[in-house]
Amino acid sequence: MVRDTMRGGERTAHDSGPAALGGERVAYDGDPARFIELDGVEKVFDVRRKAGLLRREKHQVRAVDGISFTVPRGQMVGYIGPNGAGKSTTIKMLTGILVPSGGRLRVAGIDPSRERTRLARRIGVVFGQRTTLWWDLPLRDSYCLVHRMYKIPDARYRENLERCVELLDLGDLLDVPVRQLSLGQRMRGDIAAALLHDPEVLYLDEPTIGLDVVSKAKVRDFLRDVNADLGMTVLLTTHDLTDIEQLCERVMVIDHGRLVYDGGLSGLHAVGESERTLVVDLERELPPIDDVPGARTVRVEGPRQWLAFAATASAAPLVAAVAERYPLVDLSVREPDIEAVIAKMYAERSAER
């Protein structure tokens, strides 16, 4: 299968180090657990605001306010937060576009803002809102230019392009100028462009924004494969929590420039005190169930009732208790809505302020 040969290819590329890839790439020999490392990173913007006819007031905005985390090699991390929380600013510092105002930042051992072009060979970036392709050129020409600009060995380039074209369904689009592509097609084209040079880290800024359901699923499947098969480290910012649920083992939540949560999805539920829902179908209409410990009935509709219980608790004793006392016909358990969890988290934090 294509994937297996790819895995082999990627390994040799890393193992044989500099010789394999254009000579400019030195394999990262640091701690794989600290592949991406941020230590107290800050970004402060001076903002001038009009205050009267000629007078301008200067004040500072702390877009990123002391963020520390590490990402081990091969992990897929979701980076979420409300608008203006500092997500994009963080990504821009990680790619070297912005220079941090303070703190220490390393990606594969490289300081992004000081060695931006060297780092560029080792990272892939997809901006959901704007294309990294050349707007007026057909996809094929853009890829060709990427090939030369990143000095990708011919065999690797052909192999990678073939895989992307196949998995992202780009075959019919290669000769179409980028500006004529639909958003979903363009996004797939962009993702392919970001992967042709075998990046070690992939940054995705809103990769599914504005896509329809089918395109979203396609993009997600592809990203999951890339992460699993190539061991690529992926950092993903998104507003679509389904992206996170389906792709990321780890979530970081940022708000007002600070990291407010870092851990697994399940932990997010615990922190957010979220609740799961047990939906039971009884034999007939009955008054709301109120004698089952650890649960409260939130809704009744004919013979169907909704019972909320703590997301961290097990559903089994609850089901047993209901079955013992009521004529149970059918049941299902609904996972909590992360969106609600996070909204709650944001709300609590704003209330603290």
């Binding site: 913007f45 608008n83 203006g84 994009s88 821009k92 790619t95 070297g96 576009i97 912005l98 220079v99 931006r116 072009t117 060297r118 560029a120 060979r121 990272i123 970036v125 901006f127 809102q129 704007r130 294309t131 990294t132 050349w134 007026d136 050129l137 020409d141 060709c144 230019l145 030369r148 600009m149 990143y150 800024d205 809103e206």
Partner: protein
């Protein structure tokens, strides 16, 4: 540096290929460029159908001035002409894209939308220049022969530097493209006429402040063996390359400062 030139070459080659895919359209736009830029010389011709000399300069001498500045601007425009799009790139956020590619941003910006049709302006300027050189009373010494290509290249570098400074300025004021255009295209129009027709202060300004006078006025006056209106010593006419180098250094500094202060747009 090597990386930059390589990337510039790659991008330029790609744009030329994509232009050549529509050969007829390329020929037409180039011809249009040739004729369009020739129109202001037609204006000069019309003027000379009523007068014998302009500020003491004959038609051939004015043609020399015109041809020299047009060719220099044409060269700068060909190599760096897309720099003024940078403000738009900063505004719409596509500048970020350039920064995550493994090539110097300057090379990418300079090569962006490389337009071979700009050869139209260069060839039109060159034709007028040759006609001017043939018709005017040029003092043909070996040094003066050498001065002609030196003048054109230095002039191109001076105009190019103004393009770059203007581009760098757009990191702070993203709408500043017009300011820069007034110095390059506006300066070009100014330089098409003899310095003697302008007020002394203006001539001083383009000699010492924005040294556009070194593009063609001062070297051409030397070619023609004329005094310049500011009565500068004759060797000043040879200083074009030095002025060009200084301008380029200044432009480099401005560019660096601009990139450093780039703050990107939201999201």
């Amino acid at each position: 540096m090597v990386d930059g030139i390589r990337a510039y070459g790659l991008i330029v080659a790609m744009w030329i290929r994509s232009t050549m895919a529509y050969r007829a359209s390329f020929l037409m736009t180039t011809a249009g460029n040739f004729l369009g830029s020739g129109l202001d010389f037609v204006a000069i011709l019309l003027m000379f159908s009523h007068i014998e000399s302009l500020g003491g300069f004959t038609l051939a001498e004015v043609a020399l001035l015109y041809g020299a500045t047009s060719t220099s601007l044409g060269l700068a425009d060909l190599f760096l002409g897309s720099m003024d799009r940078i403000g738009q790139r900063v505004r719409d956020g596509t500048f970020d894209v350039l920064m995550v590619r493994p090539a110097p941003v300057f090379a990418q910006v300079a090569a962006d939308r490389f337009a071979l049709r700009r050869l139209g302006r260069i060839s039109q300027g060159a034709v007028v220049l040759v006609l001017g050189l043939a018709g005017a009373d040029v003092v043909w010494t070996p040094l003066n022969v050498l001065l002609i290509p030196v003048m054109l290249v230095s002039g191109a570098v001076i105009f190019g530097s103004v393009f770059v400074v203007g581009a760098a300025f757009q990191f702070w004021a993203t709408e500043a493209a017009e300011v820069q255009n007034s110095f390059t295209y506006g300066g070009n129009t100014l330089l098409q006429y003899p310095p003697t027709v302008f007020a002394k202060d203006l001539v001083r300004g383009v000699t010492f402040v924005v040294p556009l006078a070194f593009v063609n006025w001062l070297p051409a006056l030397r070619l023609l063996g004329r005094e310049d209106p500011l009565h500068l010593p004759g060797w000043v006419g040879l200083c074009g390359p030095l002025v060009a180098a200084a301008m380029a250094a200044l432009a480099g500094l401005a560019w660096r400062t601009g990139i450093r202060s780039y703050r990107s747009t939201g999201s």
